[in-house]
């Protein structure tokens, strides 16, 4: 069984458009939406939820009225999460990382660690394959942990149903949810665009993939928007041994398809659809090998 993650660094480069197309064309596979705080795969895949579970994130510190205002916890907290500890103590749950130092040091035993529900995750069926997806509560923390949860479920499904491939639609950025979506996968596909922002973020996400020793492929979306930048990306790929697997034409059928909740690959005259099919055929040879 192989796992591949689609990432980009910069948002809005076309990860979900490409992921949904691959999911429709692939076989013997499981899909994961690892963009847990802005998930979009369900819009096209229209999943039927089979199993729903609550997500409890990491712990946060809560203080009781036994607090003696000694100030020790504030002194030792490395995350600036505690303030006014010698008067009416405040704990910023956004900054608290649940390390437990304050609880350990508190002479009055006034601090406890508590775990709250921070979202839900789902095992679903679609017309194409099983989909594991999630909904992080608005503004919640621990998105990386939730990504690990959904990936574990996808792996269980893949083993029990004897699937050959897990396709993971990643989040933008290079931080914890992205790293959680890359951890231990066989391949990463970076979807980039020929803009200066796209290039800057492409280099960063490539460094992350390299850091974790993942075989990396790249694909340039809307490549004809700026051919000078496209050739910059091509050169970068050559000198860094990144397998540039394809280029996709700028095509206004893409947002049109999204708005009609249709797959771009079902548009017969779409240049982008043709390019995506070509990328998939090349990729499928590697993935199913």
């Amino acid at each position: 069984m192989k796992q591949m993650t689609i990432i980009s660094g910069k948002g809005g480069t076309g990860k979900t458009t490409i992921a949904s197309s691959f999911i429709k064309m692939a076989h013997e596979h499981v899909a994961v939406d690892a963009d847990v705080d802005a998930a979009n795969l369900h819009i096209l895949l229209e999943p039927v939820i089979e199993k729903k579970e609550d997500f409890f994130g990491g712990e946060v510190a809560v203080v009781s009225e036994d607090c003696i205002s000694c100030g020790k916890c504030e002194e030792l907290c490395r995350f600036d999460a505690i303030s006014d500890s010698t008067a009416q103590i405040k704990i910023d749950t956004l900054k608290c990382e649940g390390c437990g130092v304050c609880k350990y040091i508190c002479p009055a035993g006034a601090i406890e660690l508590r775990k709250d529900k921070q979202g839900e995750f789902y095992k679903s069926s679609t017309n194409y394959c099983k989909l594991v997806h999630a909904k992080l509560d608005p503004g919640a923390e621990n998105s990386g942990l939730l990504v690990t949860k959904v990936r574990n479920i996808a792996e269980d499904i893949a083993y029990s149903d004897n699937k050959k491939l897990i396709i993971i639609d990643g989040a933008p950025g290079i931080g914890c949810p992205v790293i959680a979506s890359l951890n231990g996968v066989d391949f990463a596909l970076i979807v980039t665009e020929p803009t200066l922002s796209g290039i800057s973020d492409f280099i960063k996400i490539y460094e992350v993939a390299k850091f974790f020793n993942i075989k990396t492929f790249a694909c340039i979306n809307k490549f004809d928007i700026n051919t000078e930048n496209t050739s910059k990306i091509e050169k970068f790929c050559v000198s860094n041994n990144i397998d540039l697997i394809g280029k996709i034409t700028y095509d206004e059928n893409v947002p049109r398809a999204i708005s009609q909740k249709k797959f771009i690959i079902d548009y017969p005259d779409s240049p982008a659809a043709k390019d995506i099919r070509f990328v998939w055929e090349k990729f499928a040879e590697i993935l199913y090998n």
Binding site: D37, L94, V101, S200
Partner: protein
């Protein structure tokens, strides 16, 4: 007044809007809070004054002392270390640098060193605009540590414009939480609409007032606009879908470079927001 520019979905035009707002305002502090993929400098082209490293403290264990470190492993809430046969195995990528292992471990057995997780860049964009950006080191998960450094440097005496990271999780909350107003940038597609609703839920929870800018207007459907109309949410601007704007953006051009009339449009938006914020308070 602190104005943040956010968007649940990535790539909808946060930076485009934030940059245009800053340039048309002329006197403000601009902060790129998208520490995982900061791009505003591509458009603002600031002169850099200094770059400060952001570090966290991580432990190392003096194993030749023969001391027993099992209490450290038991304490660690992140499972960043294990002790097997008196040997410490440390996973630095899981360590948050809380210092717990030093507190609970054998005295003198655990020491700390600084580990770089990113940097903060200070500069200015022509007299009037102070520029700040955070930059996370690839491979590090300490986005919030870098954002924390930025937070300490916010100068809220004047106007502050914050370019937020995409999404609706903690790093977006870190960026918007102190703002007086938030502009949500979206595109008129089901993806944009879906993620916009989640961002609105975050801002409602934080009690931060907000309005919407629709970018690439015309590519999709009217769901976003209908929703805003029905729910009395201010749509400040619609930027038309135009491949020329995309081309201009691709080589580092701003909306004002593309069409100088955006200067006036964003000045007007700024005044609208001032009106809304001071009327609220």
């Amino acid at each position: 007044m602190i104005i943040s520019i956010a968007s649940g979905k990535g790539g909808t035009g946060k930076t485009t809007v934030a940059v245009a707002l800053a340039l048309s305002n002329g006197y403000c502090q601009f902060i790129d809070y998208d520490v995982e993929a900061p791009n505003a400098d591509i458009f603002l082209k600031p002169d850099i004054k200094n770059i400060k490293k952001v570090t966290i403290k991580q432990p190392y264990f003096l194993m030749d002392t023969g001391l027993d470190f099992s209490s450290c492993a038991e304490f660690c809430h992140y499972n960043a270390l294990a002790v097997i046969k008196n040997e410490v195995i440390f996973y630095p990528e899981l360590c948050h640098g809380c210092g717990g292992c030093i507190l609970v471990g054998p005295q003198g057995g655990v020491r700390e060193k600084d580990v770089e997780v990113g940097e903060v860049t200070k500069g200015f964009v022509k007299p009037g605009i102070d520029f700040l950006k955070g930059n996370l080191t690839p491979g590090s998960m300490r986005s919030t540590t870098v954002q924390n450094e930025l937070e300490k440097m916010v100068n809220s005496k004047g106007d502050v414009i914050i370019d937020c990271p995409p999404g609706n999780s903690c790093s977006m909350v870190m960026a918007v939480k102190n703002s007086d107003y938030c502009i949500l940038v979206t595109e008129p597609t089901p993806y944009g609409f879906n993620d916009l609703l989640i961002s609105m839920a975050v801002l409602d929870k934080l009690k931060i007032p907000y309005g919407v800018i629709i970018n690439r207007d015309g590519i999709g459907d009217s769901a976003v606009e209908d929703y805003c109309r029905t729910n009395n949410i201010k749509v400040h601007l619609k930027i038309p879908n135009d491949v020329q704007i995309a081309r201009c953006y691709s080589s580092g051009g701003t909306l004002l470079d593309y069409d100088i009339s955006y200067q006036e449009k964003f000045e007007k938006i700024f005044k609208e927001i001032e009106g809304l914020v001071y009327q609220e308070s």
